[in-house]
Symmetry: C2
Subunit: 477 residues, 2 copies
């Protein structure tokens, strides 16, 4: 934003594309004019730009007019339904990486890919361009990764599966996301007991020491164009198949993974139906072949939440229970984590065909997985720091059964929304505890569900939402 | 933009949708954070918002968080290829009108309409919703209008056609646009001799007095959603048929026109091919039927520029020459204007079938059209103000023929670009004069083209562009 008079003087108009430079760093932005806040020699920019250019007050910057990028013509081409060549896709992705396109222009690209689709070759070129415009992590050993497309509440298999596989000798530089629409992402959950924000060289050290890590992938600069595109997709909540494939594989390729397990939970209240899951699985396999990756796709039952706790702290507690073999550890979470670990062990030839799950369970039962988990968490914390002993959430409300009955279905999406009303993921202690799961009997006045919150208002909001949607959140026979 | 600490205090996050209110006016915007420029009690906004809310420094405004509009789901629905109902289209258009959607969200809507198309019923609903969310002009009499889809350089028929028809008794509240990619729009041209920015009530007075007006339609608030959508379309230079139809008809319906003449210039270097023009014409007729409008579509030859002058002042000079019957008046401009006026006179039953052109030429030749033109221009100026006597442009360069030859083709798009390099439309005196047109002979050293500019640099830019594209700008046999 510049002063109106300065704009006139320099023949700059609102909407003009400019480059703001300081030293060798530069950012492309769009001119707006403002009065009163800045004088004629000043510009105002968003915090985003301040951070990107590392600006301080009274810094001198260069502002120059830049030409409309030719990639806009390519976006129009895609929007008209034409195929893009490898060079053309590279040009668009490079312009996004260099901040040469505005959000509105990127929105046109995102809609074009969604509305017109991409061929396998285009998707490959998109993936490759995303990797090329970002940083990469180079490691030695059998580098493996797992990814779930999400949508299942409580489904915190990653810390368990990764601990088992790392204990078996696999190298797993696992990067995770924070929650977008769910109650918690793996990064939010791990953050309750360890740091998750590191630089690439710090991650390298952690993985060298422990075989694995559980870090937040957001600010690492691995395939950063993917993050930009996802941010725009989220505006209208769309998810094009091509972008989904490119997004996941670009992140895995950037950390040099050669063995990748993709979990596609499907079914009632999951993200995708069984049919869609199969199609997506095939697409993953085809694309992976283009990159010489060993990919195994598993279609899992995503109809019901997994584990009892929903929310950052509540989920890490479930994870620790499984790893330490406590009596009340959630069986469904344990079984799924072991199953996924078994698949990865077979894919990487650490176990023979059909023997993976057995090996995984052995590692879990022996305590080696927990030992590995503690090792990784310690590596991600300042030396000497102990696991935090969790305080109790400030407010809670137990919902009891009104009569004797059997649980038929618990809805993932509504459970996530309920947990978010209670304060997830910002309030780490907030969330839900599901005392009963599908097909379990419950007796009148027995606890069905506990809601935890850190403020009275949030507990009230959550209860209001629960009362309104009670019958859809938990169905009974 | 608010201070980072204020954002934290109010639990507002970058990207949150907020409503800024002052009195009864409000604007929806998106939160960004900024440091140093504003203190914790201040907000900074773009000039656009300042104007919309009529803000002054130290004004107190209310900032409240607003919910994500449900129209975003409808945009997603369209993007997935589904049809939208009348109510759904109304909801989207109303949200755009109320500033409840961001530019990125509108971009998704615009791409959805472009990539997936709209049925005739959807287009009708879009048109109606655009009219309903804007102001309207109510007038008495036979209200008629003309519209050209543009693309032909110099094609300034509007002032002539409207003057003829208004002299014949038609009511023509003509609103025009400014140039976007061309050398001049009708509003830019009329502005060289009259004011073009009025309120709706002022326009009413002008039309009551003179039967017609030539005003800028931009800030009148007639179907304003159309302007918003066009602004976003321009980002990637797309033009969906549904939006084009809705755009034109909504403006005409807003000024209560019952008789509408649509000119679709087509052919080499025009906006559309003959085939596309026919299709578009049919679409116009079908849509008009839904609104009970009398629409006549004419497909005209748009291969070559029309008139000799290209640029605001150069074009008004051509217009005046035609109206006053000067010997060197451009014949092509005169003929097309008379043809269009004839069509309108027949459509409105002012002339019998086949006799419209005759009547139009009679009105032009009698001087009544010029008299009407002067009357309208006077009504659009302060009392007593005379037509400005045009000063000479500061710089000019005559391009002479290198040898004897015959003009084969002059390219509309390149001519427009050349004129823009010379300073059009901002520099009113800048532009081109075409001494020779298609099929005319030119003798060695005779002037072919004169370039006018208001600065040496711009003349240089224009000459550089001319030299580089000489063979494509004007082709010879």
């Amino acid at each position: 934003m510049i002063h109106e008079d300065t704009a006139k003087e320099l023949s700059l108009h609102v909407g003009n594309r400019i480059k703001i430079s300081k030293g060798r760093k530069n950012v492309i932005s769009i001119i707006d004019t403002i009065d009163g806040v800045v004088n004629r020699k000043q510009i105002a920019t968003s915090d985003d730009i301040v951070k990107q250019l590392r600006l301080k007050n009274n810094d001198v910057v260069d502002v120059t007019l830049v030409k409309r990028p030719t990639s806009i013509e390519l976006i129009k081409k895609k929007l008209s339904g034409e195929r893009l060549s490898r060079e053309e896709i590279k040009e668009i992705v490079t312009d996004i990486a260099n901040n040469a396109l505005t959000e509105v222009e990127i929105a046109f690209f995102v809609s074009a890919v969604f509305a017109k689709g991409m061929t396998l070759t285009e998707t490959k070129d998109l993936t490759r361009a995303m990797v090329k415009t970002g940083k990469v992590l180079k490691l030695r050993g059998k580098i493996a990764d797992k990814h779930s497309i999400g949508g299942v509440a409580g489904n915190r298999t990653t810390p368990i599966t990764v601990s088992i596989c790392a204990a078996a000798g696999l190298i797993m530089p696992k990067t995770s996301s924070r929650a977008i629409t769910s109650a918690a992402g793996t990064a939010d959950v791990i953050e309750t007991i360890a740091n998750v924000e590191f630089s690439i060289s710090q991650i390298k050290k952690i993985v060298k020491k422990t075989n694995a890590c559980f870090v937040w992938g957001g600010a690492l600069g691995l395939a950063p164009v993917d993050d930009t595109i996802i941010k725009i997709e989220r505006v209208v909540n769309i998810d094009s198949t091509a972008q989904l494939l490119a997004s996941i594989l670009s992140k895995k390729i950037s950390v040099d993974s050669k063995y990748i397990l993709i979990d596609i939970p499907n079914g009632k209240s999951a993200k995708v139906s069984r049919v869609k899951a199969k199609k997506l699985g095939h697409a993953f396999e085809s694309l992976a072949r283009k990159f010489d990756l060993k990919v195994k796709v598993v279609l899992t039952n995503g109809s019901e939440p997994i584990g009892n706790g929903i929310g950052p702290v509540l989920e890490i507690k479930d994870v620790i229970k499984v790893l330490t073999g406590e009596a009340d550890a959630p069986k469904d979470l344990e079984d799924k984590s072991v199953f996924l670990a078994g698949q990865l062990l077979e894919l990487t030839n650490k176990a023979k065909k059909g023997k993976g799950e057995e090996l995984a369970r052995e590692i879990l039962d022996s305590g080696k997985a927990y030992q590995k988990f503690v090792e990784i968490v310690k590596a991600q914390n300042e030396p000497g720091k102990k696991f935090r002993r969790f305080v109790q959430p400030k407010f809670s409300r137990v919902i009891n059964a009104r009569n004797n009955k059997r649980v038929k279905h618990i809805d993932n999406q509504l459970i996530n929304r309920l947990a978010r009303y209670a304060g997830c993921p910002e309030d780490k202690l907030a969330g839900l505890y599901l005392h009963k799961k599908k097909d379990q009997f419950i007796v009148k006045r027995e606890p069905l569900l506990t809601i935890y919150a850190q403020s009275k208002e949030k507990l009230k909001y959550a209860l209001k939402f629960y009362k309104k949607n009670r019958k859809q959140i938990i169905e009974f026979y």
